[in-house]
Symmetry: C2
Subunit: 125 residues, 2 copies
DNA sequence: CCGCATCCCCAAGGATACTG
DNA sequence: CAGTATCCTTGGGGATGCGG
C-alpha cells in the first residue's frame, strides 16, 4: 500500500505538464476524428483526385460521407477543391501544403498498422 | 479536359497499391478511434496510473467512458490492469510494451497539434 | 476508491433515390 | 460525374445513482 501511495504522489506532481501535452493532441483529434478523414488524405497522397476516384479508393465510404468529410477538410485547409468548367463538370481535390504536413502522422499510423496486422495474424495462428 | 483525363488515368493505375496502403491505417484507426484512447495512452506515458489519476489528467472524460475505454485498450493489449488487494482496492493501469509502440504515432500527432495551434492563433489575429 | 447499471440524447454514419 | 435530400439506425457519450 505504501508503494501505491508513492506512485500516486509522484504522478500527481507531474499532472499539470501532462495536461499541457494533451491539448495539442486533442486539437489534432478534433480535426482528424472519424473513420474517414485520414484515409481520404491518404488517397490524395499521390496527387489530385476526382470525387469518384477517391470514393473508389476509400473502400466503403458513401457519397454523402465523402462529400461532408471533404468539406470539413477544405474548411481546415487540408484539401483544396478545384472545379473545371467542363460538361459534365469535373472536380479535383488536392492536398494543400498544410495537408501534406500530416504526412508523418499518417506514415507513423501506417507503420504501426502494418506491424499490428502482422501481430494479429501471428496470434490467431 | 485533356488534362483531367490524364490525371484520372494516371491515378486509376496506382489505385490497387493505394488501397493496400490504406488497410493498415484502417486497422489502426479501428483500435484507436474515439475521442479518448490516445489521450488515455498519453496519460500513461510517465508510468503506472490509478483510475482517478487518469480521469484527472484526461480532462472531461466521465468514469463510464474511462472504464469502457480502458477495457478496450486492455483487450487490445495496449494497457495492463493490475488490482492491489488493499482496502479499498487500488487499481493501477500501465502501458504495455505494445502500448509503448504507439509512442511515435502519439509524438507525431502531438507535434502536428502544436504547430496547428500556433497556426490557428496566427490566423485569428 | 473503482467502477457498473440505467436512462437518455445527439451526432456519425448508412441506404436509397434524386438533380444539374 | 458530382453531388443533395431524405429517412433511418447505431453507438458514442453524458448524467446520475448505486454497490463492493
Amino acid at each position: 500500500m505504501a508503494i501505491i501511495g508513492e506512485i500516486t504522489e509522484k504522478h500527481r506532481l507531474s499532472s499539470p505538464e501532462c495536461k499541457q501535452q494533451m491539448m495539442p493532441v486533442q486539437d489534432a483529434l478534433d480535426i482528424l476524428h472519424g473513420k474517414w478523414k485520414l484515409l481520404i488524405l491518404m488517397s490524395l497522397s499521390t496527387g489530385p483526385m476526382r470525387f469518384k476516384e477517391i470514393q473508389r479508393q476509400v473502400e466503403g465510404i458513401t457519397a454523402k460521407m465523402l462529400s461532408k468529410e471533404l468539406k470539413d477538410l477544405e474548411i481546415n485547409e487540408l484539401v483544396q477543391r478545384t472545379v473545371y468548367d467542363t460538361i459534365p463538370v469535373a472536380v479535383e481535390y488536392t492536398r494543400t501544403p498544410y495537408g501534406n504536413s500530416l504526412k508523418k502522422v499518417i506514415d507513423e499510423l501506417h507503420a504501426w498498422g502494418v506491424q499490428h496486422r502482422k501481430r494479429v495474424m501471428r496470434r490467431s495462428n
